[in-house]
Subunit: 263 residues, 2 copies
Amino acid sequence: MKKDCNIAFIGAGNVAVNLAVALYNKGYNIVNVTSANIVSARKLSEKINAVCDANSTDYSNLKVEADIYIIAVTDTVLAEISKSLQLNNKIVLHTSGSTNMNILKNATENYGVLYPLQTFSKEELIDFKDIPVCIEANNNNTLEVLKAIAGKITNKVCLINSEQRKILHIAAVFASNFTNFMYLKSKELLELHNLDFNLLKPLIKQTAEKIENRNPEDVLTGPARRNDEIIIKSHLEYLNQNPEMHHLYQILSEQIIKFYYKS
Amino acid sequence: MKKDCNIAFIGAGNVAVNLAVALYNKGYNIVNVTSANIVSARKLSEKINAVCDANSTDYSNLKVEADIYIIAVTDTVLAEISKSLQLNNKIVLHTSGSTNMNILKNATENYGVLYPLQTFSKEELIDFKDIPVCIEANNNNTLEVLKAIAGKITNKVCLINSEQRKILHIAAVFASNFTNFMYLKSKELLELHNLDFNLLKPLIKQTAEKIENRNPEDVLTGPARRNDEIIIKSHLEYLNQNPEMHHLYQILSEQIIKFYYKS
């Protein structure tokens, strides 16, 4: 697959923006951006010198001419778009963690998945170099195209099937989304008492860095890890004013104690 | 307080080792290490050129001569030691996040707290430079000594009272211990399916880095953030085989949805 093949993006959200810019920076022609969100589509197309096709939300009538179509939209919308697309033998890819590749089978003869295992924001574009990009395709030719594309933006191209990708996605929800929610709850608690969330940032950084070369189970510390019933009880009493944090604290402490002392 | 004042450590665990080595490296004389764990006490005292007093677990009879005594032990043991210590007008400090300063009031006339807000391992010693060290003392003289000591090892000396320290500690449990447990659960799930935990490491790193300059509530992504009922349901169905992760996934997703859509 030549590097100057034409790519069309359907979607202009966090994943689409990061992926489209990364591909554009590696020399790919992004010819078109289609999205139900006109503002987002325009912003993205300006960044990557593409045509913005913001009115084209009737995907059965997609007039864009490209070699590869990358659908980077939320999963609910992905199901709808997949049903209406008719792209014959063009390559069609989606970027979803938990949607089976076969959702694209009625849209084309050549389809696959390009799932970058990362949390993205439009506001802070990411270098894909060390990000695992999980790929899967329904035939060898499409897989070779996918390998070439993914290999241009990252050193970590992984062949991952739909079942494995779903497991990775669930694990990522724990390792990233739920972790972020822990940061959020700790910030809420501090701010309620006029304490500065910045105080926790060296701790958060160190907690993430610790597991780069060591196992999470070997570096966990704190009251539950020590099975320190007195401190756990005093924290729970304190959190009586905050039922949601109380609930989380109790369940997580129980599971930590069970992991270290009862299994 | 002159820098060559003599410090004695009671305790030789993660906090004691990191703190004692940091103080030693800044020129303080650590004269003695006392611990119920003889092996740990010996290892630490060798590192910092101190006398190991491993038999001295009868603290009422502590024979060590020092200017400052730092008790860095688990909270249960801290309560016992505080009761038995008799150190008159010597400075006695503890390092606990959730124990009131006043637990030391029968041990001496001059007491306080030196609580470094970080997760420590003996295996990987930490530079205290950017770590918030929370201090509190029962009188001004002791507070000045504490400021001088803490200021030698960190740029972030914080005056924090016992009530605030407890809140910080609870927030730290969420931001560090529970976060680490999320890493642990995601690793467990991947390994059950022969997938490599290393795949998640760039994501974990980025999740922590994202909040260095932005609010956690502004950068959270994932199915619950999008209120994507179909994916949440499919993940929960998948986790039916794993009741603990199922329980966590459900509660955390509910709380995230409530935070973004119902408050």
